[in-house]
């Protein structure tokens, strides 16, 4: 049943991309969907884990918050880059990561990297090594809030 969902998602994305709906191209589309489905099955990813699916759905309200963080930190980094004499204070520190699933950890690490000014350079279950352009990034509640929000996506 879950594999059937994967098939539907693949077909929908093919239809969204193609824009051509005559017989020959539709048959090519069906062939490519089956091809991709076979490959997904072979690497064991054809059935989407229901917990991951839930996480993906929960990401929808998380993204606007992330977008705001991204814009804020983009402005900070742009200011650093355009100042006549670059003065920065880079620092590397480990921060706790409370996610249980691999997908949660990946989301957290990606969110940290996606906000310019902070960059995750190593991710292990339970902690994330972060390189920051300004050591002040570690001071506030920024990371613990992001961590809490991403963990909230998991369940």
């Amino acid at each position: 049943m879950r594999k059937f969902t994967t098939l539907i998602v693949l077909t929908a994305s093919w239809l969204a991309w193609s824009g051509h709906y005559d017989g020959l191209l539709l048959s090519f589309g069906a062939a490519s969907v089956l091809c991709v489905f076979y490959l997904l099955n072979r690497i064991g990813l054809a059935a989407l884990d229901p917990r991951s699916a839930k996480t993906f759905l929960k990401m929808v309200p998380y993204l606007p918050w992330l977008l705001r963080e991204i814009i804020k930190s983009n402005i900070d980094v742009a200011k650093i880059i355009w100042q006549p004499k670059i003065s920065i204070d880079p620092a590397v520190r480990e921060i706790p990561a409370t996610q249980e699933t691999a997908l949660g950890l990946v989301t957290f690490a990606n969110s940290v990297t996606l906000t310019p000014g902070t960059l995750s350079i190593n991710a292990t279950p339970g902690s994330l090594t972060v390189h920051a352009l300004e050591a002040a990034a570690f001071d506030g509640e920024g990371f613990s809030e992001m961590d809490r929000r991403v963990t909230g996506l998991e369940n």
Binding site: S13, A16, W17, G19, I70, I71, N74, V77, A78, I81, W82, K85, I86, S87, I88, D89, P90, A91, V92, A109, N110, T113, L114, T115, P116, G117, T118, L119, S120, I121, N122, A123, H131, L133, A135
Partner: protein
């Protein structure tokens, strides 16, 4: 020109500026780990604003869907590639330069 066109002008100007900032950051920042941050600017703000500006100019929903998918894909893979790079550099023994608050001297260049 209506309101949407003006918004798309503004978005494209912001996006162009963000791209230039990223390029300048790649040249000006002092070490590899700092330069990675500049790469992130283009992935997030540069591409986001340029694509949003283009989406407002697009003629068909198909184009909108494509822009959305490309941006989503880049948001997924851009940080992953930068993370892989930084991790490989760290494992290869490249030491990040540290600022004054952590006992280094990479404050200015």
């Amino acid at each position: 020109m209506n309101v949407l066109d003006i918004i798309s002008w503004v978005l494209i100007l912001i996006g162009s500026f963000a791209c230039l900032t990223a390029g300048l950051g790649l040249i000006r920042l002092p070490d590899f780990f700092c330069r990675s941050h500049a790469g992130g600017i283009m992935d997030s703000l540069g591409m986001g604003c340029l694509f949003a500006g283009m989406a407002l100019q697009s003629s068909s929903p198909l184009v909108l869907v494509k822009l959305f998918f490309i941006y989503g894909f880049v948001l997924l893979t851009g940080p992953a590639a930068i993370h892989a790079l930084a991790r490989a550099a760290l494992h290869a023994g490249l030491k990040p330069q540290l600022g004054k608050s952590t006992g280094g001297d990479a404050s200015t260049r």
